[in-house]
Assembly symmetry: C2
Homo-oligomer: 206 residues x 2
Amino acid sequence: MKYNKDTSEKILENAFEEFGENGYSGARMQSIADRAGINKALLHYYYRSKDALFEIVMKKAFQLMVPRLMKTFDSDDSVCDSIEKFVEIYIETIMKHPQIPGFVIHEISTKPDRLVRLIQSTEINFDLLKQKIQNDMDEGKLVKMAPEQLIVNVMALCVFPFMAKPLVTGLLLDGDKKAYKQLIEDRKTEVASFIIRSIKIEESKS
Amino acid sequence: MKYNKDTSEKILENAFEEFGENGYSGARMQSIADRAGINKALLHYYYRSKDALFEIVMKKAFQLMVPRLMKTFDSDDSVCDSIEKFVEIYIETIMKHPQIPGFVIHEISTKPDRLVRLIQSTEINFDLLKQKIQNDMDEGKLVKMAPEQLIVNVMALCVFPFMAKPLVTGLLLDGDKKAYKQLIEDRKTEVASFIIRSIKIEESKS
DNA sequence: TTTTGGTTTAACTATTTGGTTAAAATTAAC
DNA sequence: GTTAATTTTAACCAAATAGTTAAACCAAAA
């Protein structure tokens, strides 16, 4: 079997777009082929089936994100410092690859178990993360709350505005795409500020 | 044309489930018919087409939510008080109808314009909402931030955990569904607390 | 029992979809 | 120009899908 690397990549990129926009069942192999400027037969030559292509695309999407994100919690930084870095990197990454949330959401609906397994196969260790948060709380640096709640809140604040892009743009910003872009750009710092204002216990005066 | 109200409702409920779980393109008319315990021909007799059924179901989903939610911002309450009520009612409503977020997300992907128009046709007035937030900020009750950012944050914190249910359950709670239910139940108060801690400026000592 | 209201059946349709195949065509490398 | 590598074509397939139709059936009401 002979393959061309450029063609292979081009298919993946366009599948990424199609699957991210339409989900697995809504995506069309013909559409992916059209986007990539190839014919459908070549698609099957390279990736065998819709499902196989989807799996590879999903894995690649996560490879874009996880290593950089893990770095932000691997250090001895405080939780607040880690959140600042995490939020900035997360939002930046999704700005570059806005299909990722769509991907995740569609996969949540259709094959949640597969998605959970995929995430678990990455370097993310949620137990360590929870422990780190609990430590900072035990040291009186953070407001007491279930670590899970904090993790959910961070993810919610990072992800949702991307998924809700048309709503945010159409309902809050009069359809102004530049304003949306600015709102997201601002969130790189504003989300972390919002969270830290809520959870950080300032050192008491002694 | 003769219709039975019970049959009509039964179809809607089951369509709600099917569309909420699988999105428009993933949902199957035969599957909806199976769920409702009828045959597919009756489905078309009652609702003509997949698209027509979907529209009616979408509208009904919003009718479940919007009036109660609007009430929380229609009063002279402070923004913080309103957020408390909003979050509680929002989370309660989605706990009763967990398909709604799935619905919204799928519609965002496929027909965002339609969704924006649908929301705009409801009683929600985002300009008034933004104004109310701005007023509380101008009066020094709230931390300065773009009202849009606050609205996005509130929605994110309310909606995301429902959409991410399998991930939250599988990654943070060891697959424990009871723990997930508890986490959501707690959020009725915790989300508002989290937000208010972040935005509320306490009255200074005089 | 008859009539009316509502539902099902069974067979069908046109279209779309993911996938296949071998030969022909095109491009790239030498 | 020749050979190898890659892609396209064109035709096809089976299955699935939303939707259709008229007659038959069943249940409820009179």
